[in-house]
Symmetry: C2
Subunit: 208 residues, 2 copies
C-alpha cells in the first residue's frame, strides 16, 4: 500500500487528518467525536478538514477500510498458499498480527465499531466475512486431522483471533516488543500450548 508522503504540518494532508481522527475515535468513541473536536486537535479550521473529506463518516470509512484491506490482503495470500491448512492458519495469524501492529489505531477503530451507522454495519459485514474465512481454515485443519479433536473448530477460531485482537488493548509498538516476537509468542501458545512439555525433555524413568 503506497501512501502520499506527509508534507507540511499536521492536518495539511489527508493522511494526518485520518490518523488524528482514528486516535480521537478511539479515545472518545465514534459517536462521541465531533468535527469540532478534530479541528481543535489538529489546530486547523473545520473547512480545512472538509477540503480533504466530506465528513466524519467518510473518515470512519477510510479508517476501517485501511484495517480491513490489510487483513483481506493477508487472507488473499493465505488462500493462494499451498500446504496443510494448519500451516496456512499460522500464516494468517502471523500476517494479521503484523497488520494489527502496523495499523493499530485503524484496527482499533474497526474492532470497536458498534453498528449505529451504515458505514459501521458495512465494516461489521466485512469483519464477519474475515471471521468466516478463519473458521473455514480451522475446520479444514480439523478435517486434515491437525487440530486436537476435543475442541469445537468454531470456538477455536474465535479464541485464536480473540488472542490476536486483544493486542489493541495492550500492545504499544514503541514499547520494545516487535510484532514478529509477538506473533511468535501467539503461535507458540496457541498452537503448542503454554504448559512446558516435560515429557519431551525430562529424563525417562525406568518402567517397572
Amino acid at each position: 500500500m503506497t501512501r502520499p508522503a506527509r508534507r507540511g504540518r499536521p492536518g495539511h494532508d489527508l493522511e494526518s487528518v485520518l490518523q488524528a481522527a482514528a486516535r480521537l475515535f478511539n479515545e472518545r468513541g465514534y459517536d462521541g467525536t465531533s468535527m469540532e473536536d478534530l479541528s481543535r486537535r489538529l489546530g486547523i479550521t473545520k473547512s480545512a478538514i472538509y477540503h480533504h473529506v466530506r465528513g466524519k463518516e467518510e473518515l470512519l470509512r477510510l479508517a476501517v477500510d485501511r484495517a480491513l484491506d490489510g487483513l483481506f490482503a493477508v487472507a488473499g495470500e493465505v488462500e493462494a498458499m499451498p500446504g496443510p491448512a494448519i500451516d496456512r492458519l499460522e500464516r494468517l495469524v502471523r500476517g494479521s498480527v503484523a497488520v494489527l501492529a502496523d495499523q493499530l489505531p485503524f484496527v482499533t477503530v474497526l474492532l470497536r465499531v458498534r453498528g449505529n451507522t451504515r458505514v459501521e454495519r458495512k465494516a461489521m459485514a466485512r469483519r464477519k466475512d474475515f471471521d468466516q474465512f478463519v473458521a473455514k481454515l480451522v475446520q479444514q485443519a480439523d478435517a486434515e486431522g491437525d487440530v486436537r479433536p476435543d475442541v469445537d473448530p468454531l470456538i477455536t477460531s474465535r479464541l485464536l483471533f480473540g488472542m490476536v485482537n486483544s493486542l489493541i488493548e495492550w500492545y504499544r509498538p514503541r514499547g520494545g516488543v516487535g510484532s514478529t516476537e509477538l506473533a511468535d509468542a501467539i503461535c507458540k501458545i496457541a498452537f503448542g500450548g503454554l504448559r512446558r512439555d516435560r515429557g519431551a525433555s525430562a529424563p525417562v524413568r525406568s518402567a517397572p
Copy 2:
C-alpha cells in the same frame, strides 16, 4: 452475591435499572448514553430512576464494581489455594470465564471503559491490579518450571486473558455453549495447544 428478587415491571427496582443501563452503555458507549435514553428504554420517568440512583456515574460505578468484585472473588480463592502456580492459573482462568459468562453486560462495560471520568479511572486502576495478579501467577508458574521457557511471562499473561476477555465480543450465553465447555476449550488451547499431538497417538515409524 445475593441480589434482591426482581419485582414488578422493569425499572421498579435498582437491579433492572442497572441491567438496562449496562446494556445501553454497551450499545452506545457510556459517553453517548443519557439518563433520557435510559428512561425511554425503561419506559419510566427520569425521576423514577433518580429514586434508585444519583445519576449516570453511579450506574457506571455499580456496573463496573459488579464485574470487578466477581473477578477479585476468584483471585481471592486462587490466592488461598495450595498447589503449583500453573494449576492455580488454570483455576483463575476457569473462574474468570464463569464471571464473564455470568455477568456479561457488566464485564463488557468494564472492559470498554476509557478513563474519561473518575469512576472510569478507578475501575481501570482495579483492572490493572487484577492484571498484575495474573502476571505474577504466570511468573510464579514460570519460576516453578511449568511454563514453556521460550515466551515472556508478561506477554503470556496478556495473551491468556486476551483470549478470556474476547468472550465479550462473541459469546452469547443463550447460544448453546455453556460457560464450563467454554472454559474447557480455553484451557485446552491455552495450556495444551490447539495442534494435535501426533507423537502421542500416531503409530511410531521404524527408524532407519
